[in-house]
């Protein structure tokens, strides 16, 4: 399944610049991403998604949960209001070190979040999640 794995463009959203750097490199060196865009602020990422003229067919968004100003769930809420024509290009995963039950619950309940991935980024988990998507 992973032999013909197709590299995808990624969007990373995290208020911690160190984690952005780590995850960007992991995705690139791990041969998972064709390109990576990083955002320290969820609002800027949302503006980017909203105004992107020619979005790639599919982008994978890795979204941190706990962030100031606009946190991961507030981002999802705003994303949900975007037109379907835009939304269908983006596969959103939450990426967090949280162990909090209410966070897990909220991700589970959210229609726009596909899954909660634990930090640090695990290639096997991510690949199998992406495999599920590209096969369906």
């Amino acid at each position: 399944m992973t032999s013909n794995f197709q590299k995808l463009p990624f969007i990373l959203i995290d208020d911690n610049p160190l984690d952005l750097k780590i995850n960007e490199r992991l995705l690139l060196y791990g041969d998972l991403a064709s390109q990576v865009k990083t955002f320290l602020n969820a609002r800027n990422a949302l503006d980017y998604i909203r105004t992107e003229k020619s979005p790639p067919t599919i982008s994978v968004v890795l979204l941190d949960i706990q962030m100031p100003e606009m946190d991961g769930f507030a981002f999802l809420k705003a994303f949900n209001k975007l037109p379907e024509l835009i939304r269908r290009h983006y596969f959103i995963f939450m990426l967090s070190s949280t162990l909090d039950d209410s966070d897990l619950q909220k991700v589970w309940m959210n229609p726009d979040a596909l899954a909660l991935l634990p930090k640090p980024l695990d290639f096997q988990i991510l690949k199998s999640q992406l495999g599920k998507l590209t096969h369906s």
């Binding site: 984690d19 780590i22 791990g30 162990l99 966070d103």
Partner: protein, 362 residues
């Protein structure tokens, strides 16, 4: 030092009884008088009343009826009933309906009343203390919940960053990146350390009773400004310290240090890198009553929508990575433990001013 007199509200429709009661007990107690149940209700609205002594036989509303009507609204007030008749029915309903603490006979025996008031107050006082303790406990539970939540985020996240770096170092072929990875790990370790230190300083502050001594504001400010002045972020910040302290001031030096060092280091952290005239000022005016403290900067400022949240535990208003979200919570806690008040005035792009009023503890 004399203890505060116990306050009693005495209700009787006969005026000479009211005056006689006051004459007999005003030395021992702080006496308030009411001629009717309605008048008593007005007083209850205004003042905290630990003990009410009421006559049973009053026109319109009896003592028991009055007690029953207020017991839900003032559940901690102790109720003592006085009556001139040995009326067994009144005794029974006094106990059953009005939740009366004591039932005493008229004409009163002064020693009996003193004794009843004393023991009623002991019960009242222990109930009030119990409520106070319960409130503290509830606050501690809320903090514990927040702590567990933050342990899951703030404590774990630097560790997970380090695991990510290790993973990266394993797949990375280029050996020249090693130095960079060490630096990244170091950064994560420092972040975790700052967080742990802040939590410890908060809990220390929380446990220790106030220790009042003479305060020299200029000295405190100088020390903290000196300690902060030479860090990288502060290198082109202009400091202004103006202390007007013509009278002596007493407060807790440890808590003042916590307040000043957090606010001054915040004022440095949240400078606007785009500005060339970076400023930080501390202005203090002291008089007999108290101290008015102003710590301000012309930094990035705090959005109006975030201002109500900044004193909450583990809240960070900006995207800057320095904050642990606990500094201002500690500051607010220290200020309220000194019976002071803190205000924030801020505008995005213009800067932030914290104003603190602290009483002079004489």
């Amino acid at each position: 030092m004399t203890a505060k007199k116990i306050r009693i509200l005495y209700i009787d429709d006969e005026r000479h009884n009211l005056y006689a009661f006051r004459a007999a007990f005003r030395i021992d107690f702080d006496i308030l008088l009411a001629e009717s149940a309605d008048e008593a209700r007005e007083i209850l609205k205004e003042k905290e009343i630990p003990i009410i002594v009421a006559d049973q036989r009053m026109p319109r509303e009896t003592g028991i009826e009055f007690f029953e009507s207020i017991k839900d609204q003032y559940p901690y007030t102790m109720r003592i009933l006085l009556t001139g008749y040995t009326d067994i029915q009144a005794v029974i309903s006094a106990v059953n309906v009005g939740n009366i603490f004591r039932y005493l006979q008229k004409p009163w025996n002064e020693e009996e009343i003193r004794g009843a008031v004393q023991s009623a107050f002991e019960v009242y006082d222990s109930r009030v203390q119990l409520i106070e303790k319960q409130r503290e406990l509830e606050k501690a539970y809320v903090e514990l919940d927040k702590f567990v939540y933050s342990a899951s985020h703030d404590l774990r996240s630097p560790l997970m960053s380090i695991l990510g770096i290790i993973k990266l170092a394993r797949i990375e072929q280029d050996p020249s990146s090693t130095e960079q990875y060490f630096n990244m790990i170091e950064e994560s370790v420092h972040r975790l350390d700052v967080f742990i230190k802040n939590i410890i300083s908060y809990y220390k502050n929380n446990r220790i009773e106030n220790d009042f001594s003479q305060i020299d504001f200029l000295q405190i400010c100088k020390e903290i400004v000196e300690a902060n002045r030479y860090q990288e972020l502060a290198k082109d910040v202009q400091f202004e310290v103006d202390v007007q302290q013509p009278v002596s001031f007493r407060s807790d030096v440890l808590k003042l240090n916590i307040i000043f060092s957090n606010l001054i280091s915040n004022a440095i952290k949240y400078q606007d890198p785009k500005k060339t005239d970076k400023k930080l000022w501390v202005r203090i005016q002291v008089d007999r009553e108290g101290a008015r403290i102003e710590i301000g900067d012309n930094g990035i400022g705090i959005a109006l929508t975030e201002q109500e949240n900044i004193f909450k535990m583990f809240f960070r208003a900006t995207n800057h990575n320095f904050g642990s979200g606990i500094g201002l919570y500690i500051v607010k806690d220290a200020v309220s433990r000194l019976n002071g008040k803190i205000y924030v005035d801020s505008e995005v792009g213009r800067g932030t001013v914290f104003r603190i009023d602290l009483p002079n503890i004489q």
